[in-house]
Symmetry: C2
Subunit: 497 residues, 2 copies
């Protein structure tokens, strides 16, 4: 085989993978937006077959030989192709260990599970979801062995979302974080809370939709390349760097939920749109989950929940909701969207208590995948940990262990990425502040400098750099105390501690 | 090869085809509903690759051997599998003649063309669409040769949509029809027209959406299996018999457009939902285009534009639009939605002048594919034929030759199916009237009997019967004069001729 021919085949393989991914993304997007309710069966048949075909395309000996050939010649390859070959080899070795029938069955299961989870959540009835969750956990325990049989199963899964991360690392990370933030949360408990009742007046959906359009404009999201839709659980889906979709969920009596979900998903969208053209239709369009979440949470929290940003967008808020906000100042709004108070719903949590929501999920996943917690006991454990970590009583499963879609999608080990992403983001912010006048431009509603910095340091690379290298590129040596410092400082100032 | 094994492979092959079709349908549906504007490129890459994979899956020698084997043993096969093998063999022989590169290039072209057509129509500028249309025509001329090189190219294309149909047949069909309806149209020209201005008051979209919901309910379309969306050009897409989508387009100043488009597409949906479960995930889920249009136009015209139906739904119309319809009776509404007047837009045309719109397109396609008309001359010819057949002046391309999406989707030879479908439908109605009290139940707003009849005689078969056999099953020996009789009688009564 000639090197040029091998590289052409490498490219063709990845373009085909892109096509299969686009196909299942379109089917998925349809299923969570407009598809009629009882249509999961036929879609499951299609998704299962496409996954089987994609598996066959990739997990065959020809591909193995190609990747081995490229591995031998890796010194001669340009960076991008070298990394493509490396990443594909890694996936290949993994996937070869998963039998095609299991892979197809799993794809069909996650399609079904999403449907079942929706119903279970709607009815707040965990018992509906339990049998499916049992299957999902069993599959993931098995897959963990295929990924890396030398690791404990949950370590193998964690490594998939954030390479190099394991329970030993996260146990320490979370313990150190908890040590810094729990005293702050306690001290705040003694203080008077800001009034945020004005956020829960009636905010008609039409106005909230206009706000979404405005926020996307402020974030520089070109609507010819980035759409917005509505789903139960907000998410971002990128077909490629010219075609990204975000979704949100409007609650007439909760202005900040959709507002900050749009900024969060908009951050993911900025990331996807910022990936270099050269990486399109390759396996290197995405970074690690931690890096991905660093971008979404950067826009959502470090920028979106800052006083300068709130001051910049407040005139528009007042224009859209003159009655509701007539007696509210930008600073009151800022305090309200930063109210720190232990609560039930992760996606509505403030920055300070947010990591505790993650820790609950981390503990449960650790035990579920480790086999020390039975699926049927998830609700009880969930409720107990919420009481223990956050001091709140969970009234029902809908607001408890059924609130997130991740498990129904087959993701176990994803949640810690949110906390890691926040920690990366805090360090990026500190570096950004050293490089430019962040708050001057944000205060003028101009996010172009922030985006340019992130694009330069993070976004354009996609998965071109190894996850740890990418973090180092943007953060320098990772130091989790920057994140804790940020939280302690911000909330001490907010509450006058 | 054992027969059982061959049948299992036959089934597997078709399930895979179903999966690829579902994938491209989902990508297409997205593209015409929610996809951001400038995203065609990446989707085109995906669609092209998927089409290439699907082509490879099917057009290979293993499949050829399988189909030859089944052809030899066809006497032993149950009807359904025999027909599957027959139809697949037919497609196979055709497809094998289309080189894979041409097939992929064509798929990418139609994806691009849809985008270009939208823009050209928006700007009413044919010159934007012309280069793409030239390519589409050239591809279709070439493909016609692959389909059947013994036929004239347009005959080969016509045969794809309605087997057995050719120019000789259609020339006669249209001539005979014209001879019967043109005198009626002329006579109506001398008569006073009913007042239909009330249809063009302001009908808020929200109300029209409620009307769509109501009409779908009247048609017995279960919303758990049939969705409705909005697109430039209304259409129906069926993933399978449990998952069908219709679309419509709301015009605030035209109540009947969306109303009858919903009934038309709802008719297609009824057809797709009525196909037997046994035929799911096979190549036999769809009938010929003429039969398909017979179903949509049956609900739209024979039922939807009948006086009993209008009387049945009128109370709901009055409830939704009390102000707009306060001085209108059901009979006035009936007369207004049956106003026969030569006009510009096919999809808004009345039943009587509608076939003339088809004849214009038929003439142009015949000459385009025959090579006697250059693409650049389409607008001029279109405008001349509209003047000659319908007596109307076409003011711009948007309301002229750019009005339909068919050509941009690569369909040449489809339009005559609308007229044939209407003719089949007229005969079905006559037979239905002989079997049951059609108008008694329709007048009560009960369409279940009508649907049961059509399901029994037409819908459940999908493509199980040969197109001509299916028509005979529902119509008896085809007699086009039944259609002409129907039009002449209906409009003579309406206008007192």
């Amino acid at each position: 085989m000639e090197l040029q021919e091998a590289l052409a085949r490498l490219s063709e393989l990845q373009r085909k993978q892109y096509a299969y991914n686009a196909a299942s993304s379109a089917l998925f997007l349809d299923s969570v937006t407009v598809a009629p309710r009882d249509t999961a069966e036929g879609r499951g048949v299609a998704l299962g077959i496409l996954a089987g075909e994609q598996h066959k395309l990739f997990a065959n000996e020809e591909v193995g030989k190609l990747l081995d050939f490229l591995a031998e010649r890796k010194e001669e390859l340009p960076l991008s192709q070298r990394r493509q070959a490396e990443e594909l080899k890694r996936s290949y070795d993994q996937l070869r260990r998963i039998p095609a029938e299991e892979y197809m069955a799993y794809t069909m299961l996650t399609n079904e599970a999403s449907d079942v989870w929706h119903r279970a959540k709607e009815r707040s009835d965990f018992s509906l979801f339990q049998p499916v969750l049992e299957k999902l956990v069993a599959f993931n325990q098995k897959f963990a062995g295929y990924y890396d049989s030398t690791k404990a199963p949950y370590d193998a899964l964690l490594n998939e979302y954030e390479r190099g991360t394991d329970m030993a690392y996260l146990d320490k990370f979370f313990a150190a974080l908890r040590e810094r933030i729990v005293p702050v949360i306690r001290a705040i408990g003694e203080k008077e809370q800001p009034d945020d009742s004005f956020l829960h007046q009636c905010y008609p959906i039409e106005g909230q939709k206009k706000l979404s359009d405005y926020l996307m404009e402020v974030m520089g999201l070109d609507r010819a390349h980035c759409g917005i839709g509505e789903t139960e659980h907000p998410f971002t889906l990128d077909f490629n760097n010219k075609d990204v979709r975000i979704t949100t969920n409007y609650d007439e009596h909760n202005l900040s939920f959709s507002m900050y979900s749009v900024i969060h998903e908009g951050g993911h969208a900025r990331h996807a749109l910022g990936v270099s053209d050269e990486l399109q239709y390759t396996c290197l369009t995405g970074a690690s989950m931690g890096v991905c979440e660093s971008q979404s949470r950067f826009y959502e929290n470090y920028i979106g929940r800052s006083l300068p940003f709130v001051e910049a967008v407040f005139p528009k808020l007042r224009e859209l909701f003159p009655e509701q906000l007539k007696n509210v100042t930008a600073e009151q709004f800022y305090r309200a969207v930063n109210k720190a108070q232990p609560s039930l719903i992760r996606t509505e949590a403030d920055e300070l208590t947010y990591p505790l929501h993650i820790m609950v999920r981390y503990e449960i996943e650790k035990q579920l995948i480790g086999g020390t917690l039975a699926v049927k006991d998830v609700p009880e454990t969930w409720n107990r940990l919420y009481k223990e970590y956050l001091g709140v009583d969970v009234p029902d499963d809908r607001r408890g262990c059924l609130q997130d879609s991740h498990w129904s999608g087959g993701s176990f080990g994803y949640f810690p990425s949110y906390a890691l992403g926040s920690a990366y983001g805090a360090q990026m912010l500190r570096n950004m502040e050293a490089d430019m006048d962040v708050w001057g431009s944000v205060g003028r509603g101009d996010l172009s400098g922030v985006t340019a910095w992130l694009r330069e340091k993070v976004q354009r690379y996609g998965g071109l750099l190894e996850p740890a290298d990418l973090v180092e590129n943007a953060c320098g040596a990772f130091d989790q105390s920057v994140y804790a410092d940020y939280l302690v400082e911000k909330y001490s100032a907010l509450y006058g501690l």
